[in-house]
Amino acid sequence: MSDYNAMELMVVVAARSLPNAASVVVGTGAPCAAAMLAQKTHAPDLVVMFEAGGLGPKMRSAPVSVGDSHTFYHAIQASSMNTIMDACSRGCVDFAFLGAAQIDMFGNLNTTCIGDWKAPKTRFPGSGGGNDLASLCRHSIIMTPQDRRRFAAKLDFVTSPGYLTGKGAREAAGLPRGTGPHRVITNMAVMGYDDETCRMKVLSINEGHTREEVIENTGFELLFAEHLEVTKRPTKHELKILREEVDPTRVIIGR
């Protein structure tokens, strides 16, 4: 039916959400592919950063680690973790890509454990730089598959802050003014956050999926945009660049 897969669409949507000359901290995999695609399409001046210290590389291929040599290939600077984290804290970084094992309606993220923290059923890596980026960068973007287990009513552990308990809660907690979750990009839909309630709101639904399917795969009540749209499909040009230049071996976008 469609001439692209779910991951390709997600990467394209993520790429489009990055304006030119903005700065973004990315991880490996899909976020990095999105940043590379943005650079090769509408955002040639996008400044890409990695939390281990890579600042503004000219990436030829995607890194396997956020600290490997790809992350500072012909970079502006091969710096340090502190340099990047300081820049985030100082307010110099516009976007951060984050992942999570669980996300709630306010965009809070769990990457620490399933079950009780003291005796976890499953231990995950923990915050890493996730809490830092979610706290300090202006906008955070999540790319994740959508299912009820992951989109949870209550997190087993709040590793990284979304809007916490709602409007004003970040500022009350001491987090920098004017920061917070921005987009959630899944295989089914693209979501933002309601200005008033800070709750997750579906902005567009991906081709081949339905509103009902999105609701079924979410463990909490979603808001929907008044003018719900179909997620704009990738252009031929975007797909060509993504497939031929960004991820020619299809490690990220699948085989």
Partner: protein, 331 residues
């Protein structure tokens, strides 16, 4: 103002700056030949119960040769600073060396997957954890490097990460802004792999420094492993290129390919096949036991491990792979 909160996590190390000063006062600063083998360095400077920190970042510029030696010498009850520990954490878990850990990123190997053995140790409750973030741990090291017992930061606030950390909330005396106060972290010993070092320990890192500059200053003892040892005068000729000064270094170990299977910037890329082999071996505890026996306990020197992993042929392949990232070798 709302009440100021406190994390309930354990504070593993004393953040008191005066107590740390007393230690640093005893540190021998003279420029002397600190070259020794990994066996000697770990035997002399890493003791059971020490709080350890590992340089680099995950699989990148980690001190694998030194970490293997910690396992080989069967150190136990170590504390650990866990800012993005991946394969390094996996190695220490293979030896069940760690009893308590300031955790920011552990058990995972980024996109490669999770370490089953490390998860088993944690899920069985054998390791006491305190939650932090990567930035928090690097700023805790910076506080120690600055000789102050705490430093304010704007991370962790409002989350369970904070609640299970040892951070406390404070207010800025100028703006009233709420901050997380992070306690200084003075590790007992740091293991840092570098590109080049002189016998006295003047060390040069090329590529990302991760948190290693502060780590080297904050730690009571510092063991450097280096791809290459160069004469003192080579380092002193361009003193602005010294990343870690000899005055903070206790031991220098020559360790070519000492970060394998990790990625050493400009020199060799990570061995993804071997990292996959580790993860696969961990699927079955018995298989993994044999795996660790073969690669670590069954070897006396790190070069034996390199030989078991394909030796020079493999190293040259990884070198070529790195050059394909950046055609220009570093000079």
């Amino acid at each position: 103002m709302s009440e100021l909160k406190k994390g309930v996590g354990p504070l593993f190390m004393d953040p008191d700056a005066d107590n740390a000063r007393e230690f640093f006062a005893t540190k021998h600063l003279a420029s002397r030949n600190k070259l020794m083998t990994a066996t000697e360095a770990i035997s002399q400077y890493v003791h059971d119960g020490d709080y350890l920190a590992s340089g680099g970042f995950g699989t990148n510029r980690i001190a694998t040769a030194l970490l293997h030696e910690v396992v080989r010498q069967r150190r136990k009850n170590l504390g650990l600073a866990g800012h993005t520990m991946t394969h390094d954490f996996q190695i220490l878990c293979a030896g069940e060396c760690i009893s308590h850990c300031d955790a920011a990123y552990i058990v995972g190997l980024e996109a490669r997957g999770l370490s089953k053995n490390a998860r088993r140790l944690i899920e069985s409750g054998k390791m006491e954890l305190c939650e932090w973030t990567n930035a928090a741990l690097s700023w805790r090291l910076r506080a120690a490097a600055m000789g102050v017992s705490f430093i304010p930061a704007r991370v962790m606030l409002g989350t369970d990460t904070f609640a299970n950390s040892a951070a406390v909330e404070i207010e800025c005396p100028f703006t009233g802004q709420k901050y997380a106060a992070l306690p200084a972290l003075y590790p007992d010993v740091a293991l840092i792999h570098v590109h080049v070092a002189s016998p006295s320990g003047n060390a040069c890192i090329e590529g990302l420094t991760a948190a290693d500059i502060d780590l080297a200053s904050a730690s009571k003892r510092v063991i450097i492993s280096a791809e290459r040892i160069v004469p003192e005068e080579d380092m002193r000729r361009r003193p602005h290129r010294t990343t870690i000064p000899s005055v903070v270094v206790d031991a220098v170990v020559e360790a070519p390919f000492g970060c394998y299977p990790g990625n050493m910037p400009y020199l060799y890329f990570s061995d993804e096949d071997h990292l996959r082999e580790w993860l696969q071996a961990e699927e079955d505890p018995e298989v993994f036991k044999a795996f660790v026996e073969k690669y670590i306990y069954g070897t006396d020197y790190f070069y034996e491990y390199l030989d078991l992993c394909g030796g020079m042929r493999r190293m040259i392949q990884l070198r070529r792979k790195e050059y394909m990232v950046d055609g220009a070798a570093c000079d």
